[in-house]
Every structure is written in structure tokens, then in C-alpha cells.
Amino acid sequence: MSVLTAARWLAVLAATATGVAGAAAILSQAGSGAQPWDPELSDNFVFMKAIPFLLALGVTLGLVRHRAARRSERRASDGAIRRFSPGTVAWHWIITIGFLLALPTGVWQYLGGILDVSAPVPLYLFYRVHYMGAGVILLALASFVTYWWLNGERSLLVPRGQWRRHLAGLAHELPRRLGAPLAKRLGIDLTQTPPETGKFTFYEKVVEFPWWSVAIGLITVTGLVKAMRYAYPVPGPVLYWASTLHVAAMVLLVLKVLDHLRYTLERWPLVTAMVSTWLGEGYVRLRHPAWYRTIEGPAMRPGPRAGGAGASERAPAGISLGRDQ
């Protein structure tokens, strides 16, 4: 074990121990009965105090993932290709749980006020679940960002100087009624051969990832401003705009979840890849040809494989390729 590895594990142990100690201290304070606050305000303090520990724990878990990622193989014996690491799949579902907790409760807090209605359960329970979801999201975000940063992961970003190529690819992927106006505006000829798709589609890189990043970044920053208002005197106008933008980001996320589900359900192999980590060779060859060519291994031999999914240029049996965007 190198000195760097030992130092990394030491940091992980220290952050975990600090996180556990922090959680114990926060919960003992909240449960002591000595605090004068009502349940809602008490939960707000618990959440606010937990944020630094959650972020630190997320960063260290990202460090652990960085170590584990090197051991992931890229090809299966049947030729299937790994699209996501097991860690990415695990954290994808963890952050999904966070959204499932935080989004509906956030929507209720907002709509309850607009419609002037009350739920049969106390409002502080909505806040409590909302904070739990937000905590999970913060933990996952810290882990994802650390992992991507350390791993030099840039495959979801449009490389410098490649925007025009990606917009051309997007115009080809979109349905004609959306792609044609975009192509006309950008001076792109849709009769020309479209650029080949890499590991991620043009829609994922040009629309999905930027949309997720802006919406999650906005809701995180504004949520942190809202959470710290009891610990630090946040000026009224700042709090007003933080609250307004928090709701705007919530709507952006509601829309993005709907769009993400629509997009991936139409490309079923992408859904199964987010569970199994693998994409069938035939699907990759058809839908991600530029990525396929970069993958080396014995299964790359041309010609049919016995019982393999990539034996021909047609879709593997039972796999719905879906329409390009």
C-alpha cells in the first residue's frame, strides 16, 4: 500500500468518524429537550448543522469510488460493454431516492401555501422528509463531483471546439419538427451524414446534462441560503430571491425528471444499463458507433458471434431501439 493510498483511507476514516460523532452530537442536542424550538425549527437546525458533515462524507466516499473504479472491467464475456461503473449506478439510485423524498415534499410546501390548504399530517413532517431528501442529494452530489474531478471524467461534457458538431448531432437526433428549425437557425444541412454518437448521445450531452447541472446547482445553492438563515442573518431580498429561485429550480427538476424518464424509457437498454451497468454489443454498435470503435477487446472481431447480441446490424432480439430524439 502506497503512502498516498494510506493517506486517502485515513482521510476516509477520519471523515466517517467525524460524521458519526457529528450526527451523535446533533441528535443528542435535538433530543435533549433543552431547546426551545418547535419541531419545524428544530429540524431546520438539525439539517443546517448536518450539512458540513454530509458534504465531507460525500467527498470521502467519492475518494473511495475513485480507488474502486480502476478495478472495473469494460467487456463481458458475451461482448456486452460497461456503460456505467457499479458506483455510478449505486449513486444514481441513491440520488433518485433523494429526489423522491425532496421533490414531492417541496412541491407540497409550495402548493399548500398557494392553494391555502393543509395536509392531514403536520407540516413539519413534510419539512423533515424534505430535509432528509436534500441531505441524501447533497451527499450524492459531493460524492459525484469528487469522483468526476479525481477521475478526470469529462464524457458528459461537450469538448472545447466541438459545440457545432454536437449541435448538428442534436439536430439530427431530435424529431424533424424540432430538429429542422434548429438546423435552419444554425445553418446545418440535415441531408448530410450526421456525426457519429459516442458513449453518450448528443441529447444527453447538449440538453440533459446541462439541464440537470443548472437545476441541481440552483436548487442546492438556494437551498443552502434558505437553510442558513437561522444561523446567519441573511438579508430579506436575498432570502426572497433564494426562495423564488428555489421554486423555479424545483419546477425545472420536475420537468427534467419527466423528460429523463421519457427519453430513457424510449431507449430501454439505457434503463437496464442503469441497473446492470452493461449495454449489449449490438446496441452499442448501432447507437453509439464512435464509442464502439474506441473499445478494444476480443469481442470486437467483425462477423457474427454465436448467440451474441451483436451478430448483425439489426437490433438485438426484443430490444427496442427507440426513435432518435
Binding site: V107, V254, V257, L258, L265, V271, Y283, A317
Partner: protein, 74 residues
């Protein structure tokens, strides 16, 4: 897995249609106009319409998924 995903997506789409309805109707409630102002009303209306449109598209996709044959998992 495909059927379960399709059913869950239908449920999610329907829940979002209900949400869209509350957004749109909330835009025309007198209290919103008095308390939040025109900008908030417009935002609620636009947000509601967009959520409704996206939910319909997802619902159609989910139903198409339910009608399609069971796929290979890879």
C-alpha cells in the same frame, strides 16, 4: 422490470398531471393575484402548462412501453 417501470411511469405521469392542474388553477386564484402578483401567476401558468405537456408525453411513452413485447435485459 419493463412492466413495473411502465406502470410506475404511468403513475408518475398522472401525478404530474394533477400537479399541473393545481399549478394552472392556482394561477387564477384571487389570493395568488393579491398576494403573489402577476409575475407569480404567469410563472404558475407557464410551469403548469409545461409540466402538463411533459407529463402527457411521458404517459404516452409509458403506455407504449407497456404495449411492447418483453425485451432482453441487455
Amino acid at each position: 422490470m419493463k412492466r413495473v417501470s411502465g406502470v410506475l411511469a404511468v403513475v408518475w405521469a398522472v401525478a404530474n398531471l394533477v400537479l399541473a392542474y393545481f399549478f394552472v388553477t392556482g394561477a387564477f386564484v384571487a389570493k395568488t393575484a393579491a398576494k403573489e402578483g402577476l409575475a407569480a401567476q404567469a410563472a404558475l401558468l407557464l410551469g403548469g402548462l409545461l409540466i402538463g405537456a411533459f407529463a402527457i408525453v411521458l404517459g404516452r411513452q409509458a403506455l407504449a412501453l407497456l404495449r411492447s413485447p418483453q425485451p432482453a435485459e441487455r
